[in-house]
């Protein structure tokens, strides 16, 4: 334990995902020792991000405005929706450059152990979009791990009555892994080789 502001900073940092007490301490001391200018830029970026970053009202990806760049782009096919867990997965898939349609960010994956159920995800919003926009294909690009697979199954079952074509990434991605760690080529192949669910 340290005194005052440095301990407050350590405590705040260690609340972040993936940051343990040791890393929090390392980051805190780095920030304290860095030039005042750096620390101010960091704090401004934090506040600005929190103030300005919105979630797209259409697809729920992070966005600067009401609707994100992709949803505003008339060149993107509105009848194809690629469903991902988080915005970072959308970014990874965009890099592969295979998807000509739009996205839908669920906001996570079903995980009873973490208390995340279907109601915590943007599933109803997806069903609404499919109905409203005459969607032809929904590509389920949740992570190729346990929770991602179970979520894909769940969403596929809900989509089935609508008659829309539902596909899933081809296997070939590292099993149990996260999309964000797959390289562009592998990810591109998994998307192109997608199969019916």
């Amino acid at each position: 334990m340290f005194e005052g502001p440095i301990q407050d900073l350590i405590d705040e940092l260690s609340r972040l995902p993936g940051i343990g007490p040791k890393s929090a301490q390392r980051l805190a001391f780095y920030i304290v020792k860095a030039p005042a200018e750096d620390a101010r830029r960091l704090s401004e970026a934090l506040v600005a991000a929190k103030d300005k970053v919105r979630f797209c009202t259409e697809c729920f990806a992070v966005s600067e405005g009401d609707r994100c760049r992709i949803c505003r782009d008339p060149g993107r096919d509105p009848t194809v929706i690629c469903v991902v867990e988080e915005s970072k997965d959308q970014a990874a898939i965009e890099k592969a450059g295979v998807i000509k349609g739009r996205y839908h960010v669920l906001g996570g994956a079903i995980s009873p152990l973490e208390g995340i159920g279907p109601d915590d995800l943007r599933v109803q919003e997806l069903l609404d979009r499919v109905q409203r926009d005459g969607v032809q294909e929904v590509i389920l690009a949740t992570n190729p791990n346990l929770e991602g697979n179970a979520t894909a199954m769940f969403v596929a079952a809900l989509l089935r009555p609508s008659g829309v074509r539902v596909t899933r990434l081809a296997s070939g991605l590292p099993v149990g892994g996260d999309l964000e760690y797959a390289d562009e080529v592998t990810l591109g192949q998994a998307l192109e080789g997608r199969r019916e669910m």
Partner: protein, 364 residues
């Protein structure tokens, strides 16, 4: 395969020790509590990165120290591995093989192969089914290190599905919790994989264990039958699994837990026509426990084309003199074997001897 030398620093009760090991049989001799098991544990840990005794690394680091260091060299038929391990009381361990870092246990385990037998293995024979499931999992991971994710993957699926069933607030008549079918599919995929691995591992061990047991027990000493009792069987297995889940669905919703799958497997062990658990004498049970590990070593030798390193901790403890002699007699043909005995009188003829006393080793 041969462990050529081992150095340990701040491991268990050893401050600093170095031993050289021969290709054949070595006996580690010493009174109780001197560090025999600790020394065998260090050797096994070096090769497999898991302790045969404890699941956390904390007890491995000498009381008062922060880091334990193990180094050693393993000679296989095709290569030499310099293995260096730093075990930290808290934080990540570091492992290097031939000076490059190794991230996953399996990357070492597929090169250095070892089997460890100890009196704790009595639990495989006498304990509850969970002990036997653990043994089956150990057996397939020893044979196919790349499959080390199969049991954890099933375990996690099971916990997810059980939690879903448990937290569900609906009524039994109203169908199941939403999303259950996704977990069914994952349970089947991961459950089939685990079942098949266990089946194959037991298949490779079954007959070997029977003949090891007979060789140990001697003429008229009885038989050991080993059989995999899978929770789900049928062909194709995935369909049988789905059908079994279907037929237990109503029950599962009432009891709020998963009733079908390899978490309900067992390994049947029958000694002298009676279930070993509950009927076997102490000596018979110990004979069965040793036979299972010797059979695993035999299966491994067959799989990789060379003998794995074999560690036998106190193998004589539960055996009568005739059985001790029969066990010792067979050890010469098993490649490198390192065993512990409580006194010099029990060292088998022809064995090299390491005398252990209070955390130091005298090479004789």
């Amino acid at each position: 395969m041969q462990l050529v030398w081992l150095e340990a620093r701040d491991f268990r009760n050893y401050r600093e020790v170095r031993v050289e090991l021969g290709a054949g049989l070595t006996a580690v001799a010493g009174a109780n509590g001197q560090g025999k098991t600790n020394l065998l544990e260090a050797m096994y840990y070096l090769c497999s990165l898991v302790s045969p005794r404890v699941s956390s690394d904390l007890p491995l680091v000498r009381a008062g120290a922060d880091v334990a260091i193990l180094r050693g060299e393993v000679a296989t038929s095709g290569s030499r591995l310099l293995i260096e391990v730093e075990i930290r009381a808290s934080g990540q361990n570091r492992v290097q093989v031939n000076r490059s870092s190794v991230r996953r246990k399996r990357d070492l385990r597929r090169q250095a192969r070892a089997v460890f037998s100890s009196p704790d293995d009595l639990a495989i024979v006498l304990g509850d089914p969970g002990e036997r499931r653990r043994f089956m999992d150990e057996a397939f991971v020893a044979n196919w290190p790349a499959k080390d994710g199969a049991a954890p993957a099933y375990e996690r699926t099971l916990r997810q599905r059980n939690r879903l069933l448990k937290d569900w607030e609906g009524q039994v008549g109203s169908g199941g919790p939403p999303g259950l079918e996704g977990w069914d599919a994952e349970l089947i995929t991961n459950g089939v994989a685990l079942t098949e691995l266990r089946a194959e591992a037991v298949e490779r061990i079954r007959e070997r264990a029977a003949s090891e047991f007979e060789a140990l027990a001697g003429p008229g000493g009885g038989t050991l039958l080993v059989a995999y009792q899978a929770s789900v069987s049928g062909d194709p297995l995935a369909d049988a699994f789905a059908a079994a889940l279907d037929s237990r669905r109503a029950d599962e919703l009432i009891r709020r837990t998963t009733l079908v799958g390899p978490h309900r497997d067992d390994l049947g062990l029958v000694v002298q026509d009676l279930a070993a658990r509950g009927f076997a004498s102490h000596g018979e049970a110990w004979g069965a426990a040793v036979a299972l590990k010797l059979a695993l070593a035999g299966a491994l030798a067959n799989e990789i084309g060379q003998d794995p390193m074999l560690f036998l901790d106190d193998p004589f403890s539960g055996l009568d003199p005739a059985r001790r002699e029969r066990l010792a007699g067979g050890l010469a043909e098993r490649g490198q074997v390192i065993m512990s005995v409580p006194d010099l009188a029990q060292v088998p003829p022809g064995a090299a001897v390491l005398g252990v006393e209070g955390g130091s080793v005298a090479q004789e």
